[in-house]
Symmetry: C2
């Protein structure tokens, strides 16, 4: 039964590959502080909506984030029930807070809050 361990490493590397993209990593760090809707990400990353949507899909496909519709918008949040949440969380804790990117948007009046 050595497959158990290899599956774990397999899964861990998949997760790390997802986090090994600056956009997705920043998304996760932002989600650590508050739930975000897609349009907030679009504003923050100055990236096309489909590009954002596709990154979110990858995160969702591996269960790193959950989606929840609130009226007109779909909010994303970190899935703390993920089997490997301890790994994910500890990675995020090593990253600098992303407050500044939000503040920048506030300053420019571009901060979007969909609720």
């Amino acid at each position: 039964m050595e497959t158990t361990e290899s599956i774990d490493l397999q899964r861990a590397s998949q997760i790390l590959k997802l986090l090994g993209d600056k956009t997705r990593l920043t998304m996760m760090k932002l989600l650590e502080s508050h739930d975000c809707c897609v349009c907030e990400f679009v504003a923050i990353f100055k990236m096309s909506q489909p590009a954002i949507s596709q990154h979110l899909r990858k995160l969702r496909d591996l269960g790193l984030v959950k989606e929840e519709r609130r009226g007109q918008w779909i909010f994303y949040s970190i899935n703390q029930e993920h089997e490997d949440y301890p790994l994910i969380s500890s990675v995020l804790h090593h990253l600098p807070d992303q407050g500044s990117s939000i503040e920048e948007l506030e300053a420019q009046g571009l901060r979007i809050c969909c609720e």
Copy 2:
């Protein structure tokens, strides 16, 4: 000077991308327990020597591992002086021990020890 933070995330995502490959992640986990020479990796991963060498180069290029020649062989070890070693180390601590892959080789008489 908000560039500092974005450089950090940039660097973190580069590191995570490197770790987001099963072969390299396993290499790092193995190196956590003991220094390895290239031929040991070749035996463990049942992969061509150039393939191993290229993975090691990527890890070396970002400073995650150090190389050291010992006689005929080149041994790799984890670079604990890496600026982001705390991140790297905490990722590795979440992974299952790789003792079994070594034991398997021992059992088959394939374990290579170059010293």
